[in-house]
């Protein structure tokens, strides 16, 4: 699914990311790496293999779209340091030629040094042309178009007989909210409002509601 914002083309991908075509940049929100391990360290047995899927999907996205850069929209790492960071660091070294920028989210409490060690540029927000990238949605986005995460938007499709909750992209007039990228992240139900387009992700497809 492709949309146009401020004369730039953006691809909404079923892997829960956006590809900014004109800049060969992947936008990825809310990975929450380390969450599974954090649970496991506290004695809650979430399957440990699950987080590998995050890396596989990122790898797939880079190769398939020929991406040269990633902007992470915050909440990359769930909480305090644990072994999952090292897996991420290894993955990063494998794709060292890719430029990575992170705009920090409320969960990102790791020391900056860890990011810098693996060549990730740390920012509170990032502006480029007439776009702003940051973690928290803005209440009143103005001139520049905003890309953000934080909310983990899902949309509930309801018919007379059934309802299904699906992750979605929220595309408002001045702001886009990305679905959470991480395997082990929940969702917050979003409603349709005026001027808002919602794109749901159903298995391998992105569909407009």
């Amino acid at each position: 699914m492709q949309i146009e914002i401020n004369n730039h083309l953006f691809r909404l991908l079923p892997q829960k990311a956006i590809f900014w075509k004109t800049r060969k940049t992947l936008l990825i929100g809310d990975l929450h790496l380390g969450k599974i391990t954090h649970f496991r360290n506290s004695g809650i047995a979430v399957p440990s293999g699950a987080f590998l899927n995050n890396f596989q999907r990122m790898e797939h996205l880079i190769l398939n779209n020929d991406a040269e850069r990633i902007i992470l929209l915050g909440d990359l790492f769930h909480n305090i340091y644990n072994a999952e960071w090292e897996l991420f660091a290894n993955w990063r070294r494998k794709f060292h030629s890719i430029e990575i920028i992170i705009v920090l989210g409320n969960h990102d409490i790791l020391p900056y040094a860890l990011f810098e060690e693996i060549n990730i540029r740390v920012e509170d927000y990032w502006q480029e042309e007439n776009f702003i990238f940051l973690h928290h949605p803005m209440e009143h986005p103005e001139e520049n178009y905003v890309f953000c995460g934080h909310v983990h938007p899902v949309y509930c499709l309801r018919s007379r007989t059934q309802s299904i909750k699906l992750p979605c992209f929220i595309i408002d007039n001045n702001q886009a909210i990305l679905p959470s990228f991480g395997v082990f992240t929940g969702g917050y139900e979003m409603k349709k409002v005026k001027g808002r387009s919602i794109f749901i992700i159903a298995e391998n497809e992105v569909m407009k509601v």
Binding site: F39, S42, G43, A45, V46, S48, L157, S159, T185
Partner: protein, 822 residues
């Protein structure tokens, strides 16, 4: 009997004589069996003196075996008395202590439940009383203490009260596991159960005693002389009863007339919503009841409920409108009358409620049945027949409750730790886990130690550790978190409701609250309240200004499904109504309706299965009436729809009630021809077809919530410190998705699917029903107007759709639907 010559019995007899009590035959029989060293099961109703039947022989035995029984009481716990209900503990304790004091036995009878205060707990830790009344949950907590086997060293007797209440639940599994442990600590342990009448009494005994002890055991049945009379409240004219409906408010006047005539009444309803509605209607139409009527249901605050129970006890209330929350428990001596609104769907439940009245010896228990729709009159007759023939439902024990087992293993590891080989044998001795295989056991060990299916650790997962071959929990934080989340009763994700000044009223479901705006008025706990705000799982309200009316909240898990025993009776009563229309008053009243049924369609006989076909503007309807209850119909309708979709391309929408179900489609299905060529009711391939027909994954996901909580995958947070645990919170459906996707051999996911199959779709009953249908004649009727039997299903708005389409296609269609709706 020989024991009557012993010194202990003489002392007992002296006390009994002073109170002019004469032991009942069943009490003597129980004493005799107990004193000859037997274990067993006592089947006796509430209020019959069942407690004393087992408490007396314990005391007699003590006197007989202790020389200086007045001065040198034994140290340590002698007897455990398990009760399912905290509220029962106080009454029990009073009665048991009283007997000790009167017989000059210096024993202490203590209580240990979730309500016990820290002071009592601390003094019990120092010195256990001789007898301890305890809930299954609190018993498990004792096992999480470091000195647990010391506590139980001197234990020689264990009594499980109200076993029928525990056996069909996961608390029953908890009890089984604890019993097995106690028998390892003390092989000579005597075990006695007390149970009300249930269908599978012998099985209940075997489960409780275990195979070894069961060999030399006895079942004692107290002959009940109490008679139960069922009277149906009948409207003047049958036409004033609706064809469908679950409320029954049209008989308000008739009900209140009966309430007025008696000193005290319990008005049983089947759902919390129904109880609130009835209470509101009574207060509105008969304001004189304000102050002498009260409401009691499971979502009301426990202090509020305790107040109602106490007031009822003290005869301060004339009427209590209640739900199953008052099914068991406290002996309400003063209750004179019991009224049941709507069918409770099970004979046992009906009998239990009837038993709440007429506790005086020799008194008659009378229950007034108030039908909420005309067809329930058949159920009224069926209840009466069931009671006459003493037919009661089975309570099926839980099998393979891995979640409870996981919790138990961690509990023991928090306590003294365990050796896995001997614990495996011990666990296999229980009924719930007699089939567990070594491979699954090893999975469980992996789950609690490495958080994976193997015992090899490759990350920092920490819960249970292995130290010198023993499985132990060393991390204090983990131990504390486990103690806080023990238990098998998982509360729904409810919000608490409170007044501004802080008084709690009860709990309410989030889905209801999310629709409220500040200033909205709703009816809760029998009063009209105004919504102020919601903050951190608490809803603040104030009393609404007079005259403002509001809606009544719905709670989930409302309707019960018809029990198999009752459904058999209903089929027979219908059949009987053809040949003996005037035999029972209710059937006689129902004649106009039954005649309409037979003129528009037919009334099925016992050996017939009625199928109605009917075309309307919304499509082609097929109604099938197996009379097996909604749960079985849920599975059977999906199964049939699936099998028909295999024959030719078609989509069905499905609706059901307790009597039958409906398949609705936009094309005509020639049932008459289809059943000639293919057996759509076959039991061949049943499991595969069920899996293909129902959305088992969605259903399992819903079951998973409880399982994940019990197994320790969901941490509810520390009381009063919610924020701190936020990093560890994940919804059960998210957990289910991740585990389902990434851990194929997970036992808890498997358990969720099994629970769906056995407890929700009632696979065993479904199979039996299909077998029966295969021996029945099919009575196929084309009708032009809905019959009285099909009408209630036709108007039911809860519908499900059977589709074999892929998710993407489904969503495409929903998107189209959705844009149509806009």
């Amino acid at each position: 009997m020989e024991f009557q010559q012993t010194p202990g019995y003489k002392i007992l007899q002296k006390w009994l004589r002073s109170r002019k009590w004469k032991p009942a035959p069943f009490q003597l029989e129980t004493m005799d069996a107990f004193l000859s060293g037997k274990s067993g099961l006592l089947n006796a109703p509430t209020g019959s003196g069942k407690t004393y039947a087992l408490w007396f022989p314990v005391l007699v035995n003590y006197i007989n075996t202790t020389k200086e029984f007045k001065t040198k009481p034994p140290k340590g716990l002698q007897i455990l008395w398990i009760t399912p209900l905290r509220a029962l503990a106080k009454d029990l304790q009073r009665n048991m202590q009283q007997a000790c004091d009167a017989m000059e036995i210096p024993w202490q009878v203590g209580i240990r439940t979730g309500d016990s205060n820290t002071k009592d707990k601390a003094s019990q830790k120092k010195q256990m009383p001789q007898a301890l009344i305890i809930t299954p949950e609190s018993l498990h907590i004792l096992f999480s203490q470091k000195n647990s086997s010391e506590i139980f060293n001197s234990l020689h007797t264990i009594v499980i009260d109200e076993w029928h209440e525990l056996i069909g639940s996961k608390r029953g599994v908890q009890t089984e596991l604890a019993l097995s442990r106690l028998r390892t600590i003390n092989p000579g342990l005597r075990t006695w159960g007390i149970s009300a009448t249930i269908g599978n009494l012998e099985q209940a005994k075997t489960i409780l005693l275990g195979n070894e002890q069961n060999k030399n055991s006895i079942t004692i049945i107290a002959k009940s002389t109490k008679k139960i009379v069922v009277e149906t409240l009948l409207p003047e004219k049958i036409e004033s009863l609706p064809w469908s409906g679950y409320l029954g408010i049209r008989l308000l006047k008739e009900v209140v007339d009966i309430v007025k005539k008696s000193r005290s009444t319990l008005l049983f309803t089947n759902t919390r919503w129904q109880s609130e509605t009835w209470y509101q209607a009574i207060i509105e139409h008969y304001p004189e009841f304000a102050g002498i009527a009260a409401l009691h249901h499971g979502s009301l605050d426990k202090d509020l409920r305790a107040w109602v129970e106490e007031s009822l006890h003290n005869e301060k209330l004339k009427l209590v409108v209640c739900t199953s929350s008052l099914d068991l428990g406290v002996d309400f001596r003063p209750v004179e009358t019991v009224i049941q609104i709507g069918s409770p769907k099970s004979i046992s439940r009906f009998v239990q409620r009837a038993g709440r009245s007429g506790h005086q010896p020799g008194a008659v228990s009378k229950i007034y049945f108030t039908p909420t729709n005309s067809l329930e009159l058949i159920e009224a007759v069926s209840f009466r027949k069931g009671i006459e023939n003493n037919i009661l439902e089975d309570r099926e024990p839980f099998i393979n409750a891995y979640d409870v087992l996981a919790q138990w293993m961690v509990t023991l590891a928090v306590g003294e730790g365990f050796d896995e080989k001997s614990l495996f044998e011990e666990v296999k001795n229980t009924n719930s886990f007699k089939m567990i295989i070594r491979k699954d056991w090893e999975w469980m060990l992996g789950y609690i130690t490495t958080g994976s299916s193997s015992l090899i650790a490759y990350d920092e997962f920490k819960k249970v550790e292995i130290e010198n071959g023993r499985f132990v929990v060393k991390d204090r934080k983990i131990a504390m978190r486990h103690r806080l989340s023990m238990g098998t009763i998982v509360s729904d994700s409810a919000l608490t409701v409170k007044f501004q000044h802080g008084k709690y009223l009860g709990s309410i479901e989030e889905s209801f609250v999310s629709r409220l705006k500040p200033g909205d008025v709703f009816w809760f706990a029998g009063m009209s309240v105004e919504f102020i705000r919601i903050r951190e799982m608490a809803v603040t309200v104030r009393k609404a200004p007079p005259g403002k009316k509001g809606v009544i909240p719905q709670w989930m898990g409302g309707r019960m499904s018809l029990s198999s025993n009752l459904s058999q009776f209903i089929r027979d009563r219908l059949s009987e109504s053809i040949d003996h229309p005037g035999k029972e008053i209710e059937i006689k009243k129902l004649q106009p309706l039954l005649q309409l049924q037979s003129s528009r369609s037919a009334v099925p006989r016992s050996d017939e299965l009625l199928i109605e076909q009917f075309e309307a503007r919304d499509g082609h309807h097929i109604f099938i009436f197996p009379f097996e209850g909604r749960l079985v119909h849920e599975g059977m309708s999906a199964l049939l729809a699936y099998r028909l979709t295999q024959l030719f391309p078609i989509t069905f929408s499905i609706a059901m009630n307790d009597y039958g179900f409906e398949l609705l489609s936009d094309q005509y299905v020639n049932i008459r021809e289809i059943v000639k060529t293919s057996n759509i009711f076959t039991t061949d391939n049943l499991l595969n077809d069920i899996h293909a027909s129902v959305n088992a994954t969605e259903m399992a996901k819903r079951k998973f919530r409880e399982i994940a909580s019990i197994a320790g995958l969901i941490f509810q947070g520390f009381p009063g410190r919610q924020v701190k645990a936020r990093q560890l919170q994940a919804s059960s459906s998210l957990l289910f998705d991740v585990i389902f996707e990434y851990e194929k051999d997970n036992l808890f996911v498997r358990q969720a699917f099994q629970e769906v199959l056995y407890y929700q779709l009632e696979e065993v009953r479904l199979r039996k029903a299909l077998t029966r249908i295969n021996s029945q004649k099919l009575l196929i009727k084309e009708i032009d107007k809905p019959s009285p039997l099909s009408f209630p299903i036709l108007v039911d708005r809860l519908r499900e759709q059977l589709t074999s389409e892929k998710l993407n296609v489904r969503i495409q269609k929903m998107l189209i639907d959705y844009s149509d709706a806009d």
